[in-house]
């Protein structure tokens, strides 16, 4: 399966909100879509394109925008497919994929707490790796890591 075939199949199934379908190394194609059409698009990708296995959901903070990507696997075509959508930098959010692929549940919980992307209508959006009440999103670029030597260590003499 290559990018042309993916494009043809998506058009044939009447998939909404497709912005581009490009070749991408290691996967059949990278499909960029607009986040508003996520809810009707996901079942089409699963059934019409034949990608029933969702490997992972991840988020990237590009400072001026957010990106959320979905890595899918097709057992019939033996290939991966990458879906990606650009989200608004102020309040990034997108419809949950867990109603289409139940395996998205934990991946979205992780992307929500670490990257700060909201998933609408997620059945169980709780903290997964971080403690409850943890208000930061460590994988955002604004969250700076400090190596120990950069920190000013104050030794308290008693």
């Amino acid at each position: 399966m290559d990018a042309d075939e993916v494009r043809a199949k998506l058009t044939g199934a009447g998939a909404p909100g497709i912005l581009s379908v490009d070749p991408f190394p290691g996967v059949a194609a990278r499909v960029r879509f607009s986040p508003d059409s996520a809810a009707p698009l996901f079942p089409i990708v699963r059934d019409a394109l034949g990608f029933p296995h969702l490997s992972t959901v991840g988020g990237i903070d590009w400072v001026e925008r957010y990106e959320v990507f979905y890595l899918l696997w097709s057992d019939t075509a033996k290939t991966y497919l990458l879906l990606s959508a650009d989200l608004d930098a102020k309040a990034p959010h997108i419809e949950t994929a867990s109603s289409t692929w139940p395996s998205a549940n934990w991946h979205e919980r992780e992307a929500w707490e670490l990257v700060g992307i909201g998933f609408d209508h997620h059945p169980d959006l709780r903290h997964l790796l971080m403690p409850d009440g943890y208000d930061f999103h460590p994988l955002q670029r604004a969250f700076k890591l400090h190596e120990p030597e950069e920190l000013e260590v104050k030794v308290r003499h008693v």
Binding site: F24, G26, G58, I60, D75, K78, W101, S103, W106
Partner: protein, 381 residues
Amino acid sequence: MSDMWINMGPQHPMTHGLWNLRVHIDGEMILGVDPEMGYLHRGIEKISEDRHYNEVITLMDRTCYVAGMAWEHLYIQAAEKALGLEPPERAEWIRMMSEEFQRLASHIMWYAAFVQDLGLMSPFLYGMRDRDLILDLFQSYTGGRLTYEYMRVGGVRNDLPVGFNDRARKVLDWLEPRLVEYDRLCMGSDIFRRRCDDLGILKAADCVKHGVTGPMLRSAGSKRDIRKDRPYSRYAQVDFDVATAESADVTGRYLVRMEEMRQSIRILRQTLDWLDHHPGPVLADRLPRWLGAPYAPIGREAYLLKRNYPKGIGLSAIEEPHGEACAYVVNEGGEHPYRVKFRSPVFANLSAASQYLVGYHVADIPPIMGSVDVCVGEVDR
């Protein structure tokens, strides 16, 4: 009826790591489960954004501490694609060999821990002893027994020592009959069969729905193995079969892992034969020559890699001992990866816990979770 929630973990022999399984029970029946993760979260993805490409390798060994080589291999492939580098042929074969030895070591470790959960003590000691032979081999060419820091962007750190291939063959010759003995100890034991048959059933369709991969998926009859479906490294050039079972239960997962060990030995014999006849460089030429010096500090090597590589995104997927692992490395031209994202197979397998635990008894939890082969390091990252 009085139902209640109990905690199995974070300190419980069943967990094999640090996590908490909250179980909703009614008497002895399991009504629901809620795994609580994060006790081992070290922020590996975040730390990677602050390190040079080669420095991330140190973290990879700690991602899954029983399958360090597999995770190094996963990351290295993605990083090389992101940077546009090609390793030499011999390095690819050494990496494949390392991954297969790691699969053997990981499965033997699983066998030892799993069978001990069922109360059989001797297989535990047998397993731990035989795994040490593989760790000795790792030590002979990487210097490490658990955390290796062996692979490098553009190849591997050093070539195999003289006489390694023969030593490795001796270990394989020793292991092969041992696997038969392992099998007799378990499949010949009535206690083992009674505790494992028809437990924790998860059919192939449910596995796919919930993202479950690896031996759990193959025990349900699926032939999905990334080494076959989407061959990476040099897996297309070796001969092996995908291990499957039909029962989709704990015994099925046991049978799949046992068969996988036999297939690993098959792959290893072919790999060692290839390595016998094909000497050559193990680090790419485009890198500074002493990037591969065996004792150069890892941070300094990585500093030399600082060049203006074109931007790129690397995506790799491997069949890790636990299942499908993916890495997504974004290179924005800087010294550090812009973003690194890992897909851990155990993460997905655990997220489906309610699918294979509900409806069984509390006493069934150790064998079922044992058959999942939990490695918390790679779940929490």
